[in-house]
């Protein structure tokens, strides 16, 4: 018994040391990166990141690059170094760091699209509009199916709109519509197709094309029920938007009722049918009196 009192804790310690030693994952590097990023985030959030602290943090990151020269996390480190420079308004250095990630790891498309977006954002902060737009268009061209790439056409349109460049904004919105429509067609029944349709609906909403926006929301529900992309929360927010736009903007409260009835008929065993039936009852009540449209998400 006395031996086991020593042996068992020693065994726990040995297991810890053994598994830590044989671990070939990036866990230790992730941990070190997180600790540095925590220091950066806190100080950047409160606007108290000094030049000295920035230099210290970038040095820490550069040390990690030297310690782990073959790590798959290097592009992230370069992006984070760039972000530290960008917060300190040292945009040239920030772009150099982002470009390093782009040049050294062209195969990592998600991170490259993020790095290119960050380059565009530095131009945006410097009010170099043409350069920013050119960079954003490069994101769309080079990485159209990444998360950042999918978001970009709508971002470009809204950016032009924010700058009161009405003609450019109009063209950008039309380009975004075309991009999202094509992406959805080319990637049916996939997360890319699903997200493209969501962006298309938002593109219509931003332009106040209410009828088109509702049609796309309905298309999403019709095409992606049932699918893993359409969870109950997302469905709830779409139903809410369909109802609000149909009642408040289009003044057609009967339209969503007919749509939900059709949806229930098309998918009789769908788990959210009870929810759709409840929505129909609420909408029928609202048709006869003024009321608040309930939120479902």
């Amino acid at each position: 018994m006395k031996i086991s009192l020593v042996l068992l804790p020693a065994l726990l310690f040995f297991i810890f040391v053994f598994f830590s030693a044989i671990d070939r994952s990036e866990y230790v590097l992730e941990k070190k990166m997180w600790k540095i990023q925590q220091q950066f985030t806190v100080e950047a959030q409160y606007g108290i990141l000094s030049k000295e602290k920035s230099e210290y943090l970038t040095t820490m990151y550069r040390n990690l690059i030297q310690q782990y020269p073959k790590s798959g996390l290097l592009p992230q480190i370069y992006i984070r170094i760039g972000q530290i420079y960008a917060v300190n308004k040292d945009f040239e250095k920030a772009r150099t760091s982002y470009s390093e990630a782009l040049q050294r790891f062209p195969q990592q498309k998600d991170l490259c699209s993020e790095a290119l977006l960050d380059i565009g954002l530095t131009y945006e902060k410097e009010n170099k509009v043409a350069m920013a737009l050119e960079t954003y268009r490069q994101v769309v061209k080079n990485y159209p199916l990444t998360d950042v790439g999918l978001n970009m056409p709508l971002y470009i349109a809204n950016y032009c709109h924010r700058l009161n460049k009405d003609v450019e904004a109009q063209n950008a919105f039309q380009e975004a519509e075309g991009f999202y429509r094509n992406t959805a067609q080319e990637n049916p029944n996939s997360s890319k197709g699903f997200n493209a349709l969501r962006f298309l609906s938002v593109t219509y909403l931003d332009q106040e094309k209410w009828d088109d926006a509702v049609k796309i929301f309905e298309k999403i529900l019709l095409e992606y029920i049932p699918s893993p992309y359409l969870d109950s929360k997302t469905t709830g927010s779409m139903v809410y938007l369909i109802n609000v736009v149909s009642i408040e903007k289009l003044k057609k409260p009967g339209q969503p009722i007919a749509f939900y009835q059709m949806l229930i008929e098309k998918h009789p065993g769908y788990p959210l049918n009870k929810f759709f039936k409840d929505v129909i009852v609420t909408l029928q009540g609202l048709k006869n009196r003024k009321g608040i449209i309930p939120r479902y998400n």
Binding site: L12, I15, F19, D23, S25
Partner: protein, 289 residues
């Protein structure tokens, strides 16, 4: 032990004295602690090579790919360990609680303690011990379900001032403490089932029956002992109740350490409680009250 006065404090004091003078009683609890910490270690390494080969797909499917990485893996660590607790309690803990009871009984009768024989006897009653634990878990689940109904009702209170707001706040803030109290209640309610199974070699149904008929009068005393010793766990319940995911992510190592400490604290309390229950049982056998 024959001179023992039955009272909450005297029973607790006697339990602690016996644990200090006979540390062998703590050995099964030490083994249980080892098993729990080993499981914790396995979960901790589940996101790292080579264990991630097996656990990785499960984590991705159940929580998402982010949870394979630092510091989100600590959220999995807490979630999975708390999920495992019920299985540990039912399938594993009962073995060691049974052993504690047997060891105390052997010490009390002046017989030598052979751990091999103790565990052999425990395993011969394993099915009844597991059933007793399932029964306790069902009681607890039933009571927490009822508490859950009250909790849900309170959440629907919309008042932001006045008596209803006060009721709502009280119900919400007291929820983890009430759950602790319910756990104490269930432990006290079935306190003598394990000693009866182990020391009288009774089957589960008879043990439950005897627990209520012969030992029901000690319910208040045992509940008092369990609540008083359980006070040691209240700081942990308080810290757990205010611990948010953001806090875990801010200091993940601390949350892991806190979990390990809470396991050890719970084991220490359990050792005191089972020693006190067994003492009370033996005392009634020797000297009927």
């Amino acid at each position: 032990m024959k001179n023992l006065q039955i009272g909450i404090w005297s029973l607790l004091k006697a339990a602690i004295d016996i644990l200090l003078t006979n540390p062998i009683i703590l050995y099964p609890i030490f083994l249980l602690g080892f098993i729990q910490l080993l499981l914790l270690e396995i979960i901790y390494f589940s996101v790292r090579n080579p264990m991630s080969e097996f656990f990785g797909p499960v984590i991705v499917r159940s929580a998402g790919p982010a949870f394979l990485h630092y510091p989100y893996n600590y959220l999995i660590l807490l979630k999975w360990f708390h999920g495992l607790e019920i299985f540990i309690a039912i399938l594993i803990s009962c073995i060691f609680y049974g052993a504690v009871v047997l060891i105390i009984s052997l010490i009390n009768s002046g017989k030598p303690v052979s751990l091999k024989k103790v565990f052999q006897q425990v395993f011969s009653s394993y099915i009844h011990l597991v059933t007793a634990m399932i029964l306790a878990a069902m009681f607890f689940k039933g009571l927490t379900f009822l508490h859950g109904l009250i909790f849900k009702k309170a959440l629907f209170i919309r008042s932001s001032v006045g008596i209803y707001f006060l009721i709502k706040n009280t119900v919400i803030i007291s929820a983890p403490y009430l759950q602790w109290l319910l756990a104490c209640f269930v432990t006290a309610l079935l306190a003598f089932v394990v000693p009866i199974i182990m020391l009288e070699q009774k089957k589960i149904i008879t043990a439950v029956k005897l627990n209520f008929t012969d030992y029901g009068r000690f319910f208040g005393l045992i509940l008092g002992v369990i609540i008083v010793s359980g006070f040691l766990y209240l700081p942990i319940i308080y810290l757990q109740s205010i611990q948010t995911n953001e806090m875990i992510l801010n200091d993940p190592e601390m949350s892991g350490l806190f979990l390990a400490l809470s396991i050890l604290m719970m084991l220490f309390i359990t050792a005191i409680q089972y020693t006190a229950i067994t003492l009370c049982y033996l005392l009634t056998k020797e000297e009927p009250l």
